[in-house]
Amino acid sequence: MNEHEEREELSRLLPVVPVERGLPAERHSHHKDVLMQLIDRDRRRRTSPLRLPRPALAPALVAGAVAVALAAGLTVGIGAGQDGGGAAARPGAGSGSTGGGSRSAAVTLGRIAAVALRTDVTPVGEDQFVYVRSRTADNEGVFDGPVKLGKLRERQVWFSQREESTIDVGLIREYGQDWPIEVGVPDGTDPKDAGLPAGIERPTYAWLASLPTDPAALLKLLYARTPGGEDDGDRDQVVFDRIGDLIGEQILPSATAAAIYRAAARIPGVTELPDAVDAAGRHGIAIARVDTAAGTRTEWIFDRTTLDYLGERTVFSRDTKRGRKGAVLFTSAVLERAVVDKRGQEPSGRRRVSRS
């Protein structure tokens, strides 16, 4: 009796096995999370035995900072970390990984990149300002405590396009008042020496246009220049978040936008979600990454059809002491991008940039 016949006879002798009911989807992804967390933990331990656990999340800090600023009537400060000296100098550093995100995320990011490349973007002049209006809400709970999402509010930002060093980065209009974004000048320092040149900390259109358009080279540069060291936690996540800032509140030259989406596809752990919703209630597909240590997932949301950028959201990817799985920590929806001539000036319709 050959192998085939023997197996045939055996299956006749055996009862039918129930395979219809697999593992519930929720358990399926839970165990995947458990696996990924183990992998991340082991890789961190291997590459950096002294690494500390990641500190509490930024949104809480930002909310706290804004609250303090409200009380004191201060400006929004930026640390004068001029060199942006990133410690990890290559993509996936500390991970031993050479591959990027999931295949479906790569395919979708490729489509998003193709759309971006076809979109005409008028260059922004050095004496102009990039303007972005959005709707947003974030965590207003106490520091490191349970997350409490605040009310939705409007946010407008203006970013200076000056190439040379400046302490005058731009302006945020939020909570019904203006918050100049200024670089802190230490006592006894000439403001000229304390300013921030165009760069990753102060991205301008011209700086963005100067970046490599080869995705691998671009990603390498982003890993090298994004501030923060090995001890800041998941380096891949830090870079993913930095890219999220660039696509969220800047105007990117077409070629840079295309390259940056393709670069994002190479970040380990980047996945695609079939559905996510922005702060304006618009549904779309999402490019996402889970910060396993923090138990959160950051999602960039794109229109399902046009692939335009809609907004960003951060949710808990598992139950944590700060929130249940699925609870939202931060949400935004970009409603308008434009170029204006003056800081604080709201755009007139005709100057608006075509893409969201």
Binding site: L10, R21, A25, S29, H31, V34, L38, D40, S102
Partner: protein, 225 residues
């Protein structure tokens, strides 16, 4: 996310990356095989939550044992099924660990079924009981080769790889299993015939001798469901 069919295979393309400990390779491995490994564990343990535990532990063990993967070779299915088979063997040994596992499961799971699933679930439960009853007549080694070769779709060489035994051993175990099953089925048919003719009571299933520690955890599991 779970659109990957359980009979999809990596054809060996993931070997190098798994061996190198690449994160995304494990994500892919999981998407490809979690369902298949779960089914395999279900056949071996006859118990849904034990199967879930075996599946989860299989992938964790795969990560830890990634360096054992040969750089060259075919599909990683035999490797994973081999780990799962060993895990399933252990699944019944420690009742305490099982209890701990059940305690960790979120409570709302018990009620998250859709109504239309219930009929399918009852049917599945009946079938699973039947699988348990039949496999209970076999020795553990025989159950394993059946789960691997007949239900798991591995060929004899792959099953040998999974179990770390020569192919001849797989062959002889299967052949013994076949003989035993044939006898069992014939007995059943005779019994059913007699009971139809009213000569004797239908066979009493519960009291049958089942091999080894088979399914000690079952009543517990049903309570928890």
């Amino acid at each position: 996310m779970r659109s990957v069919r359980s009979d999809d295979d990596d054809d060996g393309r993931l070997r190098g990356r798994v061996r190198d400990g690449e994160r995304e390779a494990f994500a892919e491995l999981y998407e490809l095989y979690a369902t298949a490994v779960h089914h395999h564990a279900l056949r071996l343990t006859g118990d849904w939550s034990a199967a879930e535990e075996v599946m989860s532990e299989t992938f964790l063990a795969a990560w830890r044992g990634r360096e054992d993967v040969e750089a060259e070779g075919g599909s990683l299915r035999p490797w994973l099924f081999g780990i799962a088979t060993h895990k399933a063997r252990n699944a019944h040994r420690s009742l305490r660990r099982r209890l701990a596992f059940l305690a960790r499961r979120p409570a709302e799971e018990a009620v998250d079924d859709f109504a239309e699933d219930v009929a399918g679930r009852v049917d599945d439960t009946r079938r699973l009981a039947e699988v348990r009853r039949v496999l209970g007549r076999l020795r553990q080694h025989e159950r394993e080769v059946i789960a691997l070769c007949v239900w798991g779709g591995l060929d004899y060489a792959q099953a040998a790889e999974a179990l770390g035994v020569p192919v001849g051993t797989v062959r002889s175990r299967l052949s013994r299993a076949r003989a035993r099953l044939r006898t069992f089925v014939e007995q059943e048919e005779r019994t059913a015939e007699k009971s139809r003719r009213g000569f004797m009571e239908p066979i009493v299933r519960r009291g049958e001798v089942e091999s080894e520690a088979a399914f000690v955890a079952l009543p517990l599991q049903e309570e928890a469901r």
